[in-house]
């Protein structure tokens, strides 16, 4: 423990972020590794959708089994039993290790400094609902459809990314979320 510095957390020195070029090249190589290893790219909402199915089966089994979208996921075995669940668990552990090692792990309500905690909770919840619904309509999110799809030159990926950026630019003008 470094006792000479100010008493302010975090104790580990904060390392700078990677430059966008370095991060982009490494991310591209990780994505390429994923393609040649598994035959598909990286994702995120595949796991949250399966988590929803599992929670639904736990809280309301009959309703979930009868649901045309979530039902098929709870029919054949455990809904979380899938490659994407392991990948998102790895995503969480990799981010945790990186943040800890680089002195960037800090428990906080990020965004409360600009809009206050109560409002920040509302914007985070609303944003999550919109993104969760949208990712089901598109059958993928920024990672699974945008990033991974664009690397395969997918038309849907380019449409998704173009509308994603325009929507983000416009909504930012209207609502301050962070």
């Amino acid at each position: 423990m470094d006792t000479s510095s100010a008493s302010h957390p975090p104790a580990r020195p904060v390392r700078p972020f990677w430059s966008p070029l370095v991060a982009g090249v490494v991310l591209g190589l990780v994505l390429l590794l994923t393609f040649v290893w598994t035959g598909h790219g990286l994702g995120a909402t595949g796991a949250t959708t399966r988590l929803s199915a599992w929670l639904g089966a736990f809280a309301a089994p009959a309703v979930t089994a009868a649901n045309p979208y979530l039902g098929p996921m709870v029919e054949g075995g455990h809904p979380l039993s899938s490659w994407i669940s392991w990948q998102v668990l790895g995503l969480a552990l990799g981010a945790l290790a990186s943040a800890f090692w680089a002195g960037r792990l800090r428990v906080q309500w990020d965004g409360e400094r600009s809009i206050g905690r109560g409002r920040r909770i509302l914007t985070a919840l609303l944003g999550g609902v919109l993104a969760g619904f949208g990712a089901r309509v598109a059958a993928g999110c920024t990672s699974g459809l945008g990033l991974s799809g664009a690397a395969t030159l997918s038309i849907a990926a380019f449409v998704f990314l173009a509308v994603f950026f325009v929507a983000g630019l416009l909504v930012t003008r209207v609502i301050r979320g962070v």
Binding site: V36, W83, A92, L93, L96, E112, R113, T123, V129
Partner: protein, 201 residues
């Protein structure tokens, strides 16, 4: 011949951990840094994503050209144009309002951000809302305007794959030049120290 088509625990954990390590190291656990892209003051999101897409696309093409990777062997999303547009609209709006996309909210939560946990809760609610509304009308919307000729730009429109990758590489150079100008004309990219302290835009 690649791909190996491994669907096991180890490949999931390893690829996921590398993904999380890169995203956190790029600063993508910080909602202020992420939304800086839409305020045009921090272009890291476009720079990193676009670079990664060009590197991975060029790598896939190169491996196919050398005969190490089977053609048409990796997963390509179906060209559901209406579904992609509506989904892109909602995920983009959710990103601007909530400060994260689904993958980066996991990075945010595991770098200590409680608001990212609320975003993840919202993701689950949004998924339940979609499942509740799922039916023939939703399927009709999702299947509208599908490109039938093919799922990729080369397959559907006959544009050579190398030309698409070259075009993206040129656009990427433009993103770095133009993004750099916008960054210098504004507050600029959010640093790690600012992000850890909960940066205000």
């Amino acid at each position: 011949m690649l791909p190996l088509n491994d669907a096991g625990m180890v490949s999931g954990l390893v690829c996921g951990a590398l993904f999380g390590w890169v995203l956190e190291s790029a600063g993508f656990g910080s909602p202020c840094k992420l939304t800086g892209q839409f305020r045009l003051s921090d272009w890291s999101v476009l720079k990193v994503m676009f670079t990664a897409i060009v590197v991975a696309a060029a790598g896939l093409l190169g491996l196919q050209a050398m005969g190490w990777l089977a053609a048409d062997a990796v997963f390509v999303p179906a060209a559901m144009v209406a579904a992609a547009a509506v989904g892109g609209l909602l995920v983009g709006a959710g990103f601007a309002v909530g400060g994260y996309c689904p993958g980066t909210s996991v990075v945010g939560l595991f770098s200590g951000r409680l608001d990212a946990g609320v975003f993840l809760l919202g993701l689950l609610i949004g998924t339940f809302a979609f499942a509740g509304l799922y039916g023939p009308a939703m399927e009709a919307l999702m299947n509208a305007a599908e490109v039938m000729a093919g799922d990729t730009l080369p397959d559907a429109y006959g544009i050579p794959a190398w030309a698409v990758v070259l075009g993206m590489a040129l656009a990427l150079a433009g993103v770095f030049v133009w993004g750099g100008r916008f960054e210098r004309a504004s507050r600029g990219p959010v640093t790690a120290a600012e992000a850890v302290n909960g940066a205000a835009p």
